[in-house]
């Protein structure tokens, strides 16, 4: 290691760092239903942490427990060193931006933003100054006298953000912050949100079901399913090194080849896949016994497609037929039929221009698929 490692951007790697939010074996039951099932989670100061999962996975319940709207059935939540279990929402150092924004419809933009400060009994002049500052930051100064129903979706979202940030919370909780916006606005707002987080330095905890949103926004992601964390890691870790088929399929697309380990060497592993019939060479060793049933996940963009057979010594290649082509401009998605019924998906950049109107690879053509020894991920669950 030539240069000293710094933890400034990756506090979770620092063994000395004290987590800002500590969720310790927290469960939440609603009657017979277990929404959150004994989870542990450490979030560090300044992180933009995403809880990602499908509906009913428990991500919102966990967020609501952080806000204080739900009490954990067991376990404890500690924020900045203080146990929050019996602290009501109005005494917690956190604020929340609601999915529906929950703006007070009978109040103006100004009064909505000032609401939190008024509750603290701050002098009017000081409130006015801070409201002004906040409205300037979210570029809503000219809308201060409007009621929420007179604003567009994007403007409402910014009012909600201003209202939840004005009390300078230690943690800002965001429940599907971009779900109600249309696609263009959503992309724009993603970056605005990141800029604002950078500026105010508040720890953000975001709940979302949108994996793209989670990937762009967060420092780390926790993928949730059935009340448990499937994996916690940086966007790259989760995308490139998923630890389960569920995570691999939930974040992006993955082709899954089922097989058995036939050779487990020091620096390589060979997996024999049945369907499609192929031998997969992986360039690192694994602590898995030979003969174990495994799944090899391959991202669509990690597979090369060619008309000539690649020189791979019979490893990491399959022959198939083009079943479908989705032309997306910059890239194309190919669906390749293998052994008659198995479909493998590939995305490939469109580097070459079509000649004489014919694409380089056409429907019903026979093609070879190949990938590098470092491209695949072996999963046991």
């Amino acid at each position: 290691m030539s240069q000293p490692m710094t933890y400034a951007d990756r506090p979770w790697l620092d063994p000395e760092a004290e987590p800002f939010i500590k969720v310790q074996s927290v469960s939440k039951h609603f009657g017979d239903f277990t929404a959150v099932d004994s989870v542990d989670l450490d979030i560090y100061k300044g992180e933009l942490f995403c809880l990602l999962g499908g509906s009913g996975c428990g991500k919102s319940t966990l967020l609501r427990m952080l806000a204080g709207f739900e009490t954990p059935s067991s376990g404890s939540i500690v924020i900045d060193g203080a146990n929050m279990n019996h602290v009501p929402p109005y005494e917690r150092p956190v604020n929340m931006m609601f999915q529906s924004y929950a703006l007070f419809p009978h109040m103006t933009v100004e009064s909505n933003v000032a609401y939190g400060l008024k509750r603290d009994g701050i002098a009017k002049a000081e409130i006015d100054r801070q409201v002004e500052e906040m409205l300037t930051m979210v570029e809503l100064t000219q809308f201060r006298k409007r009621k929420p129903h007179q604003l567009s979706g994007g403007q409402r979202q910014r009012v909600a953000l201003a209202r939840s940030l004005i009390k300078q919370p230690k943690v800002l909780l965001l429940d599907e912050p971009l779900a109600a916006l249309d696609k263009r606005l959503r992309e724009q707002t993603q970056f605005e949100l990141m800029n604002i987080q950078d500026k105010v330095g508040v720890t953000f905890v975001v709940v979302t079901h949108d994996q793209e949103e989670a990937m762009t926004l967060s420092t780390r992601i926790a993928v949730m399913d059935a009340g448990r964390f499937m994996q916690i890691g940086t966007p790259t870790e989760i995308y490139e090194f998923p630890t389960s088929r569920l995570v691999a399929n939930f974040i992006g697309n993955a082709n899954m080849f089922e097989g058995r380990i036939t050779e487990n060497g020091q620096d390589h592993v060979i997996v024999q896949s049945k369907q499609p019939e192929c031998r997969i060479y992986i360039d690192h060793g694994l602590s898995i016994q030979e003969g174990t049933r495994v799944w090899v996940a391959l991202r669509p963009e990690k597979i090369r497609i060619s008309k000539q057979a690649p020189d791979n010594d019979g490893f990491n290649m399959i022959k198939g037929m083009v079943d479908d082509i989705g032309y997306l401009g910059g890239t194309s998605t190919y669906r390749i039929k293998i052994d008659g019924d198995r479909i493998v998906e590939i995305t490939s950049p469109n580097q070459a221009r079509p000649k004489d109107g014919n694409p380089p690879i056409d429907w019903d053509e026979e093609v070879y698929l190949s990938w590098d020894a470092s491209s695949s991920v072996v999963l046991t669950k």
Partner: protein, 313 residues
């Protein structure tokens, strides 16, 4: 039948159906309007006319407004004495004021009882909610009169409540409850509380509970949340319920008559006395018209709020 007439028939039928199609909306509206015209406005104008007549011992017991003298000369006689009489005799002014006092206090009591009930119903689970709503409506299944008589039995000197209190040794002498203002309040609040709960329920059902969480999240204690968010948001329901209680309670006759006896003066009883005991139809009509005027203002206010609410939704 001539040939051209037969040829006309389909064309006519076609035109008629076109007319119907174009005007079916107005036709649909016409029926209820006609109903109101016939059974509300017409009687109203008759009462209005009688209120400007003089009283005579005859049948009907009032003078006619239009009289024909000699050779087709028409006399129109308008008597305003009845209204002047209402103003001069302080019995009427007192009764009006007492009616307004009783209905105002009853409205506030209904609100104090109904608001938490409506809130609790809205906040309960789906099945409980339906059972509770059912219980609110249940009393309407029995006759209103019967229920008031039941209260007489409960409140009387030898009634259930006094009997129970005496047998428990809490009191020695029966408490005088029946034929007091207290009994009238009990009767009115009991009868009208569903009219408060139902519009409040309808309003609270639409309330976005995330707003209350947002208020708590921003540091508002439960009381502050109630006064800054819940109450302003449910104000249309409060006003609708209050008017639905206040307006009929002001003109209430049965409850003050049966539970208040002769001790509680309310305008409904005075009205009844003028018609039936005194057989003074013109004064009775004037009392009725004055009552109507007294209530038109809150009714218009109610309409205005309703209109505003639909506009916002």
């Amino acid at each position: 039948m001539s040939a051209p007439a037969e040829a006309m028939a389909p064309a006519l039928r076609h035109r008629l159906s076109l007319l119907l199609q174009r005007n079916w909306r107005s036709l649909v509206l016409f029926v209820p309007f006609f109903w109101l015209l016939l059974f509300f406005l017409a009687p109203f104008f008759i009462v209005l006319k009688i209120s400007f007549a003089g009283s005579v011992i005859a049948s009907p017991p009032f003078t006619s407004m239009i009289e024909w003298v000699d050779e087709g000369v028409m006399h129109i006689r308008v008597v305003t004495d009845n209204y002047a009489y209402l103003w001069e005799d302080d019995l009427y002014v007192k009764t009006y004021l007492n009616s307004l006092k009783i209905s105002s206090i009853s409205t506030i009591l209904c609100l104090l009882i109904g608001y938490p009930m409506a809130y609790a119903i809205v906040r309960s689970s789906h099945t409980t909610k339906h059972i509770l709503l059912m219980l609110i409506i249940l009393p309407f299944w029995t006759s209103f009169l019967l229920r008031v008589y039941a209260w007489m039995g409960l409140l009387a000197d030898q009634g259930t409540i006094n009997g129970l209190l005496i047998s428990l040794g809490i009191i020695d002498e029966p408490l005088r409850m029946l034929y007091t203002e207290f009994a009238v309040y009990v009767g009115i609040v009991y009868t009208y509380v569903p009219f408060m709960i139902l519009p409040l329920y309808a309003n609270m059902e639409k309330l976005d509970w995330a707003l209350l969480e947002a208020a708590a999240d921003l540091g508002a204690r439960p009381m502050t949340t109630f006064f800054t968010v819940t109450l302003p948001m449910t104000l249309p329901g409060v006003l609708a319920g209050s008017l639905l209680v206040f307006i009929p309670a002001t003109g209430e006759y049965v409850i003050p008559d049966l539970l208040g006896g002769g001790n509680v003066l309310m305008i409904g009883r005075v009205l009844y006395n003028e018609f039936n005991a005194n057989i003074d139809w013109p004064v009775a009509s004037a009392v009725a018209i004055a009552l109507l005027l007294l209530l038109v203002l809150p009714m218009m206010l109610y309409q205005h709020i309703q209109g505003k609410e639909t506009e916002n939704a």
